[in-house]
Symmetry: C2
Subunit: 434 residues, 2 copies
């Protein structure tokens, strides 16, 4: 995000920003008293407003795309930025899908009565204000708003400057829906200030912002995690591994490898490294190489793998030390042989980012050992890592995949966007003997 | 903690410290494969080692007490520091109580099968390494170790320099127990380096320390929350309120007020402010003042309350603006009248620390509104705030009271000291159509 030429002082824009955050906090109290059907009616109103504003949104998006092209933004990124009537329709359907989900607010997590008669209920309640810091995709503006509002929180949106026209047009439509239902616009607050440091003001606003979720590349995520003084849910870097054990069904192993690498290489639940038990490497590597290369995957192989692949007539580059730590997000796969299961687990513990890890094996003991020993949000036996996803888990929608151990680990669905509160009802109980 | 005279360079002590943390991480893998009964046997061995080392522990503690007296430490703090055979017996019983608790590791939080046949289990698993940064009380050394180990994590202990002799002697005993069972000493790691910055190294050790819990005063907690780059569970500042509604049963209201203020004024679940509906203030304030003053409570009253109290012949000081934000932790109570329920809620939202808040009312609608609107870890209707406690909630033991919204909110018991992992078992499922 570029600095503007104008000469607003720090206090000006920071004051404006802090006021916006406070307004978002204040507005949330209204949400707390809306029923589920009132929240769903709001989401439907938003869906209709998006459709009604389709033309304006597409026109604004065209400006963003034009500016992106002028800056020679990479094609893949322009593609993610670009909106079409189909993509707007998908946002509308997303809003309706969230409306159809069970309301997490008020759900009782635990409920028990103590010997002294105190009734204790642990209830899911809204966070308050959820801030989303994100890059490129304008659909996040709608998805994040829908999830936060349904979970009873107001939402503060800080997208990248590249999507500012699109996001402004989308939020304008969402505000029309809020107006129609006489709800405060501050429930959906777009932070459109040009100052780059606005992100830091948001993530340091303890007491006003209750939760921040960064969605984007590793640089953004690390910046937020390092600087934030408000609670963070860290989403997504996935340097994931697939280990093919000695006893693996090799047909299954090929199918899962191809899916986990090529189904959608640019996402965080794809694999980046294939670990192969050395005793089956000679049989397995040529078979999987053939299937992968048919899909244009470049292989980077350890010395032993390289020998086997070259000997079988396949092309592969030598693996470099940095490959072990690289999330390619591309049609590239690191390949390593390992002497046994424990070596595979050790490699994963050393280089993995605790996102999604998988083993293919027919040996139930090895499967159990892998599932138990590997420390990650999702650990798979005989299935593709691509299933780490809110929809695939049946949560309906998600705000990203959390790779941290606090609170939400794995797909962040509606339930994970709430916090808990103990409500205790008594009849005058006191603890002391006074 | 004072700097030492010796001239170790930064790299020396930081290197030593980081190695200790890595050893703690490495040692944890052993714990992961211990059964519940093996963990319980370890806790029993520790209990016996404490008893066997009682003399050495008391002697070490006497040194700490002597040094504290030489430094003219306040008496209440010396009392918390001092160990006696009874207090050692209490630690022993604490270890046995934790052994008797249900093992949280492996407990299945959710379990479901997807239409494609994937079996998904969300399982409680250890964090890894839990660091505790604490002040004064040497019993925390034992309690924290017991809870962390039972929850499958190794523990890194950083007590204050004032308890160093005691903690060293206690941990020496715990190590004897580990030795006896051929378990690595690094499962219980005392950080006894004199450098004050050791705390910062611990709380910035991303990837090695999985969770840090500060236990102590507001200064310590804020320092840890501000600087930490590892996940934190923020415990404890409790600026708590009790609101007496118009329809309250006044006998009950007096009883709860007295308990919540005087049962143990120095702890975080005591109340600091009494809010009284103005329509009952004239009747209620003299009654509660009498009961409170009989227990030596000093009252600091708002103008309206002051008039009523003075008129009824009770002593009270005028409330100062800073009183609203003060956690007295002492026999002092701020008293305010409020025009209605909403004003009480507003005051609490403004000044409360989201710990424990209570209403006394016979009006079910007001009770419901209070329970729903007040944003705190524990919200009470017709009961004392003193019940916010792991034992009182039936969790058996606790690592403190969390006032944050992520992960654990309220008493932090064994279950809250674990994280979650999804274990997914398939039969070769892939997501794409490749």
């Amino acid at each position: 995000m570029e600095h503007t030429e104008n000469t607003r002082s720090n206090t000006d824009w920071q004051g404006i920003l802090l006021q916006k955050l406070k307004d978002a906090k204040e507005a949330q109290h209204v949400l707390q008293h809306l029923s589920t059907s009132e929240k769903n009616a709001l989401l439907e109103e938003m869906a209709q407003a998006l459709l009604a504003h389709e033309e304006a949104i597409l026109a604004a998006n065209a400006k963003d795309v034009e500016e992106a092209k002028a800056k020679a933004m990479p094609k893949a990124r322009i593609d993610r930025l670009m909106l079409t009537p189909n993509r707007i329709q998908a946002m509308v359907e997303g809003l309706r899908a969230v409306a159809a989900l069970e309301d997490p607010v008020g759900r009782v997590a635990r409920s028990f009565t103590r010997p002294n008669g105190l009734m204790i209920r642990q209830v899911h309640v809204p966070f308050g204000v959820i801030a989303i810091i994100y890059e490129a995709r304008p659909n996040v503006t709608v998805d994040a708003s829908a999830l936060a509002l349904k979970a009873g929180s107001s939402v503060v949106l800080r997208g990248s400057s590249e999507t500012l026209h699109s996001n402004t047009a989308i939020v304008k439509a969402l505000h029309v829906a809020l107006d129609k239902l006489h709800l405060p616009r501050a429930l959906v607050t777009l932070i459109d200030l040009p100052e780059r440091e606005a992100v830091d003001v948001i993530i340091e606003a303890r007491g006003t912002i209750d939760l921040v979720i960064p969605r984007g590349g590793a640089g953004l995520i690390h910046h937020v995690v390092d600087r934030a003084r408000v609670p963070v849910i860290e989403t997504g870097v996935g340097n994931n591994h697939l280990f093919i054990d000695r006893s693996a069904n090799l047909d299954m192993a090929v199918r899962i490898t191809v899916d986990a690498k090529t189904d959608r290489p640019s996402v965080c639940n794809a694999i980046e490294t294939l670990l192969v038990h050395q005793e089956i490497a000679e049989t397995f590597l040529p078979r999987v190489a053939e299937a992968l290369m048919a899909r244009g995957v470049e292989l980077r192989a350890c010395p032993q793998s390289l020998t086997i692949l070259h000997h079988a007539g396949f092309d592969a580059k030598p693996l470099q030390p940095e490959d072990d730590r690289t999330e390619y997000l591309d049609l590239i796969l690191a390949v390593r042989t390992v002497p046994d299961l424990d070596a595979a687990i050790e490699h994963i513990q050393r280089y993995g980012t605790k996102h999604s890890e998988a083993i293919v094996t027919e040996d139930p003991q090895n499967a159990q050992r892998f599932l138990q020993s590997v420390d990650a949000a999702a650990v798979y036996h005989n299935a593709s890592t691509r299933f780490t996803d809110g929809y695939e888990f049946g949560f309906g929608a998600e705000m990203g995949i959390s790779t941290q151990k606090l609170h939400a680990r794995g797909p962040v669905g509606l339930l994970e966007l709430t916090t808990l509160k103990y409500e205790i009802t008594g009849e005058g109980q006191v603890r002391g003997h006074s």
